[in-house]
């Protein structure tokens, strides 16, 4: 079986030759090709080169497009900073006052260098890696994009104080989201991954989440391919009931703090669970600890037909020793060879 067959066999509850592996190694590709991050996060060719090395060295079944949501903010004019050792971060949002929302140029953003960077990276990866690999396009969802345009506090303020104005903005960000996901699928993405950086239990109440997701069914039904919802560093389980019946959502990347048996119970449609080894911890944990944590996860859910072993949370840190990542696959293989 190749990677794409293995992953889709998992999603469709069919026979698979082994458990598929998902490593959030978007950032890590820069280390493998020794590429400065200001080049890696602006030049699609460099990004593709880095991910080809990820595929060769770490052998995951899923390769990710750039995992940097602030770049979507930059597409609109928000200021970001590219660091030496971590993905770009938002420095100054473009919207300073609520009235500025009306001046946002969605068409210009859609044709920006930043959106082109995401799309060309996906296209380059598909050309380089062929049809055997799952390429996951990481996209910002319409509810999180305002954070990159106006900052978290201001977006919360608008949502809670002026829902009508907030809904108008969501309508615009929803159209942008559909256009970008269309481009991602056209470029060769197998699925899109949406990190829940805003609609999660550490940020909003469940009432706010339900209200925001009212129209998500209609929105997600318009997406041209499979969607994976990513917990993005917060527990997913408390909000799984909201996400459970959304169209096109085939899998969830759970958080390392999620109890996986609860996740399985809450996913009544048998969606695939991806997770839940904390990726950012790989830098500090020893190989032995990583191996132990991997086995603990396999003991809990390795038998589940709809399970993909994956790292959860954010990107695997740049300074992670490569042995700490390779030990995951080794442990999984040894576990099933017993």
């Amino acid at each position: 079986m190749n990677s794409i067959q293995r992953v889709f066999a998992t999603i469709n509850s069919e026979y698979r030759d082994k458990i598929a592996l998902s490593l959030t190694a978007s950032l890590y590709g820069a280390k493998l090709i020794n590429c400065p991050l200001h080049e890696y996060y602006t030049e699609p060719k460099k990004y593709v080169e880095g991910q080809i090395r990820v595929y060769e060295e770490l052998e995951p079944d899923i390769i990710f497009s750039p995992f940097s949501l602030p770049l979507f903010g930059k597409a609109f004019g928000s200021k970001i900073k590219i660091f030496d050792d971590q993905p770009p971060n938002l420095v100054k949002p473009i919207v300073r006052k609520v009235e500025d929302i009306r001046n946002l140029d969605f068409e210009k953003a859609l044709n920006s260098l930043e959106v082109a960077y995401f799309i060309e990276s996906i296209g380059g990866l598909r050309s380089a890696l062929g049809q055997d690999v799952v390429i996951a396009g990481i996209c910002i969802d319409p509810f999180a994009l305002p954070v990159m345009l106006m900052g978290l506090g201001e977006w919360l303020d608008l949502l809670l104080s002026d829902p009508d104005e907030a809904n108008k903005l969501i309508l615009q960000t929803s159209n942008f989201f559909l256009e970008v996901t269309d481009k991602m699928f056209d470029a060769g993405a197998t699925s899109v991954v949406l990190p829940s950086v805003f609609i999660n239990p550490t940020i909003v109440t469940i009432e706010i989440a339900k209200n925001l997701m009212k129209n998500a069914s209609e929105l997600f039904s318009k997406v041209k391919g499979p969607i994976v919802l990513h917990s993005a560093g917060a527990r997913l389980n408390p909000f799984l009931k909201i996400y459970n019946n959304l169209p096109n959502v085939v899998a969830f990347v759970t958080d390392s703090k999620d109890e996986l048996s609860t996740s399985r119970q809450l996913m009544s449609n048998g969606q695939t669970i991806i997770g839940n080894l904390e990726g950012p911890d790989l830098e500090k944990d020893s190989k032995e600890i990583i191996s132990r944590k991997t086995i603990e996860i396999l003991e809990k859910i390795g038998h589940d037909a709809n399970f993909i072993f994956g790292t959860s949370g954010g990107d695997i840190p740049l300074n992670t020793p490569i042995e700490n990542i390779k030990v995951i696959k080794e442990t999984i293989e040894n576990y099933y060879a017993r």
């Binding site: 050792d85 971590q86 971060n89 809670l160 940020i203 706010i208 527990r235």
Partner: protein
């Protein structure tokens, strides 16, 4: 009074800022905003802060709205004091900022609101602040506590520079060093790693931490 506090607490849980302010406005008509702060807002914040620290079903929206409610009531108290020419005592002086390379401002702004509500004079330096800038400002304004915030692990490691700066200038024990941000909740060992004097699990609990650290300075 317990009913009043419970009703007010529900506004925090529902993240209902306008409801909370209307409630306090009505209450203050018969009493005062100053009294509302001590009798209703502060006990409610304490209860909410404990819940935030101990349970995982409290979220940023609720905390943020709690901070905005406190900020709005504080403004009303300032007006009230101005009208009646009342001087208030300063609890302490603090310098806040996000450490070098960190731009996640929301938590810091919330700490500023809660500290101010508790009578602290706060100098908020903003994002991406170098260690020497923190210490320079603390000396300039005679602050007893420096509070540095970071969200990501990589940025949090920059905080050790504040410890070094304080040590190198012979200020350890004279200016206390508090740290905060999501990463310190996820990795409690990081507090010692960066040489901080303490942390708080959330913005509300930061007030108690700053009070304790100040007591240490004063002996």
């Amino acid at each position: 009074m317990e009913n009043v506090k419970e009703e007010f607490y529900q506004f925090f849980i529902e993240a209902n800022k306008s409801g909370a302010l209307e409630y306090i406005d009505n209450w203050a008509k018969e009493h005062s905003y100053e009294e509302a702060l001590t009798s209703i807002v502060e006990p409610t914040l304490e209860k909410f802060g404990e819940k935030w620290a101990n349970e995982d079903d409290v979220n940023l929206a609720q905390g943020y709205i709690a901070a905005k409610i406190s900020e709005a009531i504080l403004l009303k108290i300032a007006e009230e004091r101005k009208e009646s020419n009342i001087q208030h005592n300063i609890t302490g002086i603090a310098v806040l900022g996000n450490i070098e390379d960190d731009y996640h401002a929301l938590g810091r702004k919330m700490v500023n609101n809660f500290l101010s509500s508790a009578g602290w004079e706060v100098y908020d330096l903003g994002n991406d602040i170098l260690a020497e800038e923190f210490v320079d400002k603390a000396l300039e304004v005679n602050a007893s506590v420096i509070g540095a915030s970071a969200m990501m692990y990589t940025n949090a490691t920059n905080m050790v520079k504040i410890r070094n700066e304080l040590d190198n200038r012979g200020l350890s024990g004279k200016i206390m060093f508090a740290v905060g941000g999501t990463i310190f909740n996820l990795r409690p060992g990081l507090v010692d790693e960066v040489g901080a004097d303490g942390t708080a699990p959330n913005a509300i609990e930061a007030v108690e931490l700053f009070n304790k650290l100040q007591q240490k300075v004063r002996g």
